[in-house]
């Protein structure tokens, strides 16, 4: 049953990502990216990381996607027209180098995954024998909260400062230029 859900989610994720890659219409590819993010959230749930899945939906779908949509709309109609004129299919001579590079990288990474035998890694086997696996009944969130405030407090604070700096910088960059400048 879980396997069926996993394959369903993986199929949704990969198929919508392929549509994002192949689509010519930018708006359509943006909305397919939306579907990809939801499929990934489903995969996170199947990996017993429900808190990460909810965070993914809140931040990616609620924040990043809306931000991208706004930037797309603000960057004007000419860009939109040009994108539709550009007319490159998934397989065309112009995209051949990119396709070749991505395909070769895919082959290499598959080789790495099969050689690595991730399920037989010593520390994974040790975790299984020590019962150090995430519980299925959803009590893992308590651990995340405690660990975030004790063991990972320094990275947490650093990343909050970084986020503030980045947002201030983004607001500064996107302000309207004064008339005497530019």
């Amino acid at each position: 049953m879980i396997k069926v859900f996993f394959y369903l989610m993986a199929f949704i994720t990969l198929a919508s990502a392929l549509v994002v890659a192949a689509g010519k219409n930018l708006v359509r590819s943006l909305f397919m990216f939306f579907v990809t993010l939801f499929g990934l959230a489903g995969l996170y749930v199947l990996a017993l990381a429900d808190f990460v899945a909810v965070t993914q939906i809140v931040i990616y779908v609620g924040g990043i996607l809306v931000l991208i949509l706004f930037a797309f709309m603000l960057s004007g109609k000419e860009a939109l027209n040009k994108v539709s004129v550009q007319a490159d299919g998934f397989i065309s001579l112009k995209n051949a180098p990119a396709l070749l590079l991505a395909g070769l990288f895919l082959v290499i990474m598959f080789n790495v995954v099969f050689k690595a035998q991730a399920d037989n890694l010593p520390w994974v086997q040790a975790a299984i024998s020590n019962q150090n696996i995430m519980p299925v009944n959803g009590t893992g969130i308590n651990h995340i909260g405690v660990n975030l405030m004790t063991r990972y407090l320094l990275p947490f604070e650093v990343i909050s400062i970084l986020l503030m700096l980045a947002l201030v910088g983004a607001a500064h960059l996107s302000r309207k230029p004064k008339e005497d400048e530019v």
Binding site: L14, V20, A21, L40, A49, L67, D88, P135
Partner: protein, 101 residues
């Protein structure tokens, strides 16, 4: 039970789709989407391995950090894209080839 290999294979394919989008698209916003796909593939790996670390939650906590970092990156990148569009009237990364005014 779903094995680790399954998650790794999904994330490999996702990463390569992101790589293709970055290389092939002629629109800065679509390149940004490709970067997000690659980041998500990495986060999927973190989460999949994080299942075997109940005591410290390293995988899931760093997946959260990576999501926050992606949000910060996107905000700054979109501000830069808007500025580039204001100056060059295009967001094709191939045509933006000078740094000076």
């Amino acid at each position: 039970m779903i094995t680790l290999n399954d998650f790794l294979m999904v994330s490999v394919v996702l990463f390569c789709i992101g790589l293709y989008i970055i290389l092939a698209k002629r629109n800065a916003i679509q390149v940004l989407i490709g970067i997000e796909l690659m980041l998500n593939a990495a986060i999927l790996n973190l989460v999949a391995f994080g299942r075997f670390d109940r005591a410290n939650n390293a995988g899931q906590v760093f997946a959260l950090f990576a999501i926050v970092l992606a949000a910060a990156t996107t905000a700054v990148a979109l501000a830069i894209v808007l500025n580039v569009y204001r100056r060059y009237k295009t967001i094709d990364p191939d045509q933006i080839n000078q740094l000076k005014d």
